[in-house]
């Protein structure tokens, strides 16, 4: 009993300590209330979070006629009390904002209890007070001001930076009393760039060659070589497929088959060709509107036909047609603008200057597609792509679409964009309801981001030009941030899908802007951007986390060490197949159905359509890269979902990254892992090396470095125990080495083979195996 009390007490102390530290950390990160207060970085986050819900851009929810998001409005006499003002520059004691947030009278205090918002903290109140004292000046939201390249900042350790990125990063480190880590060892560095640039691990031969190569440009040469591999395009395509909500089924209840994979092949091709980002996006948004559009340009527009399409008989056609238009509009917001504009579908945005009218003006760009809500219910090949669509012919495959991997002779159609001859009228839809037309609107963009130039045509092509206009403040920032996120696991703006006022502030605004402008100035060159990041000293640091750094910067915001990141779902699969030699590195083509636990599709289906039953593939198709695994939207592949892959329902710009027991179970028992262990053991046993050489070889294939002595000892000892066991129980050997998948053993089952299989399973289950380190 007493023990419990002690534990309880400890717990309470812990809890208290956490809250105190947390509180301290927060106020410290706000640079306390000392010095010059920044409206954008210190004041607006507080106002936005605690006040704008009722005193912000949404006219319908505005209380007391007061809005605090606009300077002139906040300075005005209050409607309900004309003697008073919300903000009186220089005088907090006369400013109602300060008086109300700091009031101890709960009937007076803002935000009111009915809002369910927590009251402002002491530190937040101090910031508001100081800001008003300093004049209460407003600034335009940082993300709506076009980025400007500032010169690389002064740093103390001038010998560290390898390129411009490092000056910006080092400055932040030094400001926070941190110093960079040393460079990672060569083996780990090679694994890192191989995974980041191709999604595949290096081979033992590559590792040896790279470690031996002492030329000063060895690292850069290796990066260039990796960038030139076609696996690069596959690697870069994966996050883009999330953005584009690409899948192999239509979604909704029957969720039958669709043939949109040629579009996916095009994305891989475009990345491999290093198509500039502006062209890449323009083709996808408006390829059909380009003069004399080629079939490749038409195929690219499949981007906006990847959304879910209903095949449920009996739906109301217009309801779904509108749904598709809304999906494209939301996707534009999330993918290119980093704005949560979907909030403005039903009402004016509560935090950002995007009105409901803005939303429907944007939607007007996508409202004239020659499409219907329900084109067909579950059926044969004529339903696999919906109108507008195009045929892919033999001539196309030999000509303009020769990057496509189509080996059969079946007819193939793919959904693309095509406008009607006349413009469909667009209305504001009251509360977002498809049948409640309000004011008619025409195509346009939110003025707060950037007004739509009169010189541009009011169609999707014009919209693309608007996105890539030098004055557009968001497009370049949003993309460089996502590339950064892909490599470092966390964007410079952590909320990579929300650059608005409720989004996170950039951890390094100057760096973000420098990268954005540099990207634009250099022809939106994606390979150049990726290489630039990988060449930086920031990227090349080791990922050792000292206790001091863990304490000072637990989220690694300032990048004083390289982050350790659990690989994404596709990479986990690719690593397993690649290290065992089972991987079939075929690019593109129809998606494949590898091993999957039985019954999943069957249990969830309506019983209609081609996808009612999971018909597992055989042969090569069992060993393709993860990105080619068939995605049936309503039952996405479980081994991918458990590793946080997207279900491709909607545009997604950031996957979560969790660590769960179900992931452990996959690495322990997924047939792909088990089969790979057997295949690799078979390969090594056939090689007739010494056991420790075989184990070292397996380790190098999976972990991509030599094991140290301690690791090798553990594995050898384990192997020995297993070998003894299987020698004593030869009847169990077959179970271990022949029961999984289609793999055919090259050597006869033996104790050695079984012991090696188990040993390899241990290596696959190491944290480092599926972690980018």
């Amino acid at each position: 009993m007493r023990k419990i009390y002690i534990i309880l007490l400890l717990c309470l102390l812990c809890a208290a300590a956490i809250f105190t530290t947390r509180y301290f950390f927060r106020s410290a990160s706000g640079a306390a209330a000392s010095g010059k207060i920044s409206y954008n970085f210190q004041v607006r986050p507080i106002l936005s979070d605690k006040c704008f819900n009722c005193h912000g851009p949404d006219a319908n929810k505005r209380e007391a006629g007061l809005r605090l998001d606009i300077e002139a409005e906040a300075y005005k006499a209050l409607k309900e009390n004309p003697q008073a003002h919300a903000i009186v520059p220089g005088d907090p004691e006369k400013s109602e904002v300060f008086l109300r947030i700091s009031s101890t009278d709960s009937s007076q205090r803002m935000p009111p209890p009915s809002s369910n918002l927590p009251p402002l903290t002491e530190a937040e109140i101090a910031i508001i007070k100081k800001w008003i004292e300093q004049g209460g000046k407003y600034e335009k939201h940082w993300a709506f001001v076009p980025p400007v390249k500032s010169p690389a900042p002064e740093v103390e350790h001038t010998d560290w930076p390898a390129n411009e990125i490092d000056f910006f990063v080092l400055q932040k480190m030094e400001q926070h009393g941190l110093a960079p880590n040393e460079e990672a060892d060569k083996e780990r560095l090679l694994r890192r760039i191989s995974l980041d640039l191709t999604g595949l691990p290096p081979t033992p031969e590559e590792i040896d060659a790279f470690v031996k190569n002492t030329a000063p440009d060895a690292y850069e040469k290796k990066i260039d070589e990796l960038l030139s591999r076609s696996a690069y395009g596959e690697r870069m395509a994966i996050p883009w497929l999330d953005v584009a909500r690409y899948a192999d089924s239509h979604g909704y209840q029957d969720d039958n088959y669709r043939t949109q994979w040629p579009w996916r092949d095009w994305v891989i091709h475009a990345f491999n060709e290093n198509m500039p980002y502006d062209k890449f996006v323009t083709w996808q948004l408006a390829g059909d509107l380009l003069p004399d559009a080629t079939k490749e340009q038409l195929l690219a527009t499949g981007f906006n036909r990847n959304h879910k399409i209903t095949e449920e008989g009996g739906v109301i056609d217009e309801e779904y047609r509108v749904e598709y238009v809304v999906d494209r509009t939301n996707t534009l917001g999330t993918a290119f603008l980093g704005m949560t504009i979907e909030c403005a579908k039903c009402h004016d945005h509560k935090y950002d200057p995007v009105s409901q009218k803005d939303f429907f003006q944007l939607s007007a760009f996508f409202n004239s597609i020659k499409e219907v809500g329900l084109e067909s219910t579950v059926g044969g090949p004529e339903t696999f792509a919906k109108n507008p669509r195009m045929d892919i012919t033999k001539e196309d495959l030999e000509g303009v679409l020769n990057f496509m991997n189509k080996t059969d002779t079946h007819n193939l159609q793919v959904s693309i964009m095509k406008d009607m001859d006349t413009v469909r009228k667009t209305y504001i839809l009251s509360r977002g309801n498809y049948d409640q037309h309000a004011e008619e609107v025409t195509a346009g963009t939110p003025a707060a981001i950037m007004s739509y130039p009169d010189s541009l045509p009011k169609n999707r092509l014009g919209l693309s030009k608007w996105l890539f206009h030098p004055q557009n403040p968001l497009t370049a920032r949003v993309y460089v941030n996502r590339v950064w996120q892909e490599i470092f696991g966390r964007g410079i703006v952590k909320s990579s899908g929300d650059f608005g006022m409720q989004g996170e502030l950039p951890s390094n605004p100057e760096l973000l802007d420098w990268l954005a402008v540099d990207f634009r100035e250099n022809g939106w060159n994606i390979k150049r951007l990726v290489k630039q990041i990988c060449m930086s000293a920031t990227y090349r640091q080791s990922s050792v986390i000292s206790p001091e750094k863990l304490k000072a910067d637990p989220e690694n915001i300032y990048l004083s060490y390289s982050p350790r990141i659990r690989m994404n779902a596709e990479m986990v699969r690719d690593l397993v197949l690649s290290s065992s030699g089972l991987l079939r590195p075929i690019i593109g083509g129809p998606s494949v159905k590898p091993y999957q636990p039985p019954g999943l599709w069957e249990l969830a289906t309506s019983g209609r359509g081609l996808l009612a039953n999971y018909r597992q593939d055989h042969g090569d198709k069992l060993y393709r890269r993860g990105m080619y695994t068939f995605i049936k939207r309503t039952v996405p592949p479980p081994s991918m979902m458990i590793f946080d892959a997207s279900n491709r329902d909607l545009c997604e710009v950031k996957r979560s990254r969790t660590n769960t027991p179900l992931q452990a179970l996959i690495m322990m028992n997924d047939p792909t892992v088990l089969e790979s262990s057997i295949a690799l053991a078979d390969l090594l046993v056939a090689g007739k090396q010494q056991t420790n050489a075989s184990i070292t070889s397996a380790f190098m294939r999976i972990i991509n470095r030599r094991p140290d002595q301690q690791e090798l000892d553990i594995l050898l000892q384990y192997w020995k125990e297993q070998d003894d066991y299987f020698k004593a129980h030869p009847e169990t050997v077959e179970d271990v080495v022949t029961e999984v998948g289609e793999y055919k053993l090259k050597s006869p089952p033996s104790a050695d083979l079984a012991a090696m299989t188990r040993t390899i399973q241990v290596i696959y289950n190491m944290d480092e195996a599926i972690t980018k380190t």
Partner: protein, 484 residues
């Protein structure tokens, strides 16, 4: 209690927890023993509440939701409308329909002939509640049920209606109700997931279910519903490969832990410590889950109660029995889906068989929970995603008709967990077309469930992409009239 208190304090990421307290990594083991899911995933920096601690004293600790997928007709089950039998074949008066929207399946129909239930209704229990003859077992437990005849929803098609019921939104990737509950209450059993999903299918016309219905949405994936299936692998990838016994698995995981520990010492990354813990939980689940799935120890009385089908894995009966066992073992939210209720045609022939599969096990679950003293703390819900029209879809005959989707009124029932027993709530007009008293919207339904679990639905929030989301979006009122 200490568990809850620690949870209270640990609503921050592991990394921060470890670093800010500056405790050594040796203490990790201690922490994980005290709080089973300390390492289960990074919590959001700022939650609108403290996970594991409800806003007020809960009436229900757990939920079992028997979802009747496809939408069973209220008019053949719980909402008795003799007028429809009297007016059989006559057209639905326009004054009743009042221009309401129809689905694309019946909007082209020239007439809307009213159709009364093919099945007979009788009054049951002390409450004298009307129930159709196709539910003889449920009829016997009406005094334990609160039958809500005034449910209504906004969606008219299966996918959006189902998604709305499960996630509070018709479109999009919002967290499922069970995920919200897992997020709010955490787990009661460190060897089992907090949110489990069981699927089955009846004989009637079916509509698919989708894994997004039990998706964690923007919540941490530890809150995702874990699908249990019949057969050797009740949880995906749970079963060890051939030749691997418990001792061999233990030995292998010990080696993995040893190797991971070397990396932990080298890199100092708390995620590695978390990974070691996840492997331990996986190992424990491998024992705990098959134990739960094993029904061989259930007494003959229990098998008789649920019906012999409960011994056939994958049936609704087996899933009801399993739901009781999971719930008894502390699983917070058990979601069953039973397909086959979409009777657009051939209703009189199809519905009886469909009903037979669910009637006895549904009633048995209530009886079983009650006899174990668990009904008070377990909220059981039974119902579909919308109702059916009072007029015939397709060709009309008194003994062969169909009913289209009808979102304007339908019936569900709830039992236990602080809900008034033996009660009928809400009322529809004599045609069974519109609600005339005490409407209950899906948002209200969600608000009420969260209330029973101890949460103010307006305060159980999660901040994502700059907005605080909740299950009830911007609406919902707790239906206080049905609470004990």
């Amino acid at each position: 209690m200490e568990n809850e208190l620690l949870q209270h304090g640990l609503n921050i990421s592991r990394r921060k927890f470890l670093s800010r307290l500056s405790i050594g990594l040796g203490s990790v083991a201690l922490g994980s023993l005290l709080v089973p899911d300390l390492f289960s995933g990074a919590a959001e920096e700022e939650a609108g509440f403290m996970p594991g601690i409800p806003h007020f004293a809960p009436k229900a600790k757990r939920v079992i939701y028997l979802f009747q997928n496809g939408a069973p007709s209220q008019l053949e089950t719980f909402d008795y409308k003799p007028v429809l039998n009297k007016m059989m074949g006559q057209d639905l008066p326009e004054s009743i329909r009042n221009g309401q929207r129809l689905t694309g399946m019946t909007s082209g129909q020239k007439s809307f002939p009213l159709v009364g239930s093919y099945y007979k209704f009788n009054q049951h229990g002390e409450s004298g509640t009307w129930v159709s003859e196709i539910f003889p077992h449920m009829s016997k437990i009406v005094d334990d049920l609160c039958i809500i005849r005034s449910m209504h929803t906004e969606a008219i098609n299966h996918d959006p209606a189902l998604t709305f019921f499960q996630t509070g939104a018709q479109q999009g990737n919002r967290p499922s109700m069970g995920s919200w509950v897992s997020y709010g209450l955490g787990t009661e059993n460190k060897n089992l997931p907090a949110f489990c999903v069981l699927l089955s299918r009846g004989k009637g016309n079916g509509q698919g279910v989708y894994s997004k219905l039990w998706s964690n949405g923007f919540l941490d994936s530890i809150h995702q519903g874990v699908q249990f299936s019949s057969g050797e692998n009740p949880i995906l990838y749970l079963q060890d490969p051939a030749g691997m016994d418990r001792a061999a698995r233990r030995k292998m995981l010990d080696k993995v832990a040893e190797l991971n520990d070397i990396q932990l010492k080298h890199f100092g990354d708390p995620e590695i410590a978390a990974k070691i813990q996840q492997y331990e939980m996986a190992y424990r689940m491998q024992t705990a889950v098959p134990e739960i799935m094993d029904v061989s120890n259930e007494s003959d009385d229990i098998v008789k109660l649920y019906g012999s089908e409960c011994l056939v894995p994958g049936t609704f009966a087996a899933n009801c029995l399993l739901a009781r066992k999971l719930s008894e073992n502390g699983v917070r939210f058990i979601q069953l889906y039973h397909q086959g209720w979409d009777q657009h045609g051939n209703l009189p022939n199809e519905m009886r068989g469909q009903a037979k599969d669910v009637d006895q096990p549904s009633a048995a679950l209530i009886t079983d929970l009650k006899q174990r003293g668990l009904l008070d703390e377990t909220l059981v819900i039974w119902g579909g995603e919308f109702g059916r029209t009072n007029y015939c879809q397709g060709k009309f005959a008194e003994d062969n008709y169909g009913r289209d989707h009808h979102p304007r009124c339908f019936t569900i029932w709830m039992a236990g967990g602080g809900i008034k027993p033996g009660m009928v709530y809400g009322e529809t007009d004599e045609f069974g077309y519109n609600i005339v008293k005490n409407p209950v919207h899906v948002n209200d339904f969600h608000a009420t469930i969260l209330n029973q679990l101890g949460f103010d639905h307006e305060r159980l929030t999660y901040r994502f992409q700059g907005r605080r989301y909740r299950l009830t979006d911007v609406a919902g009122h707790v239906v206080r009239d049905i609470l004990t």
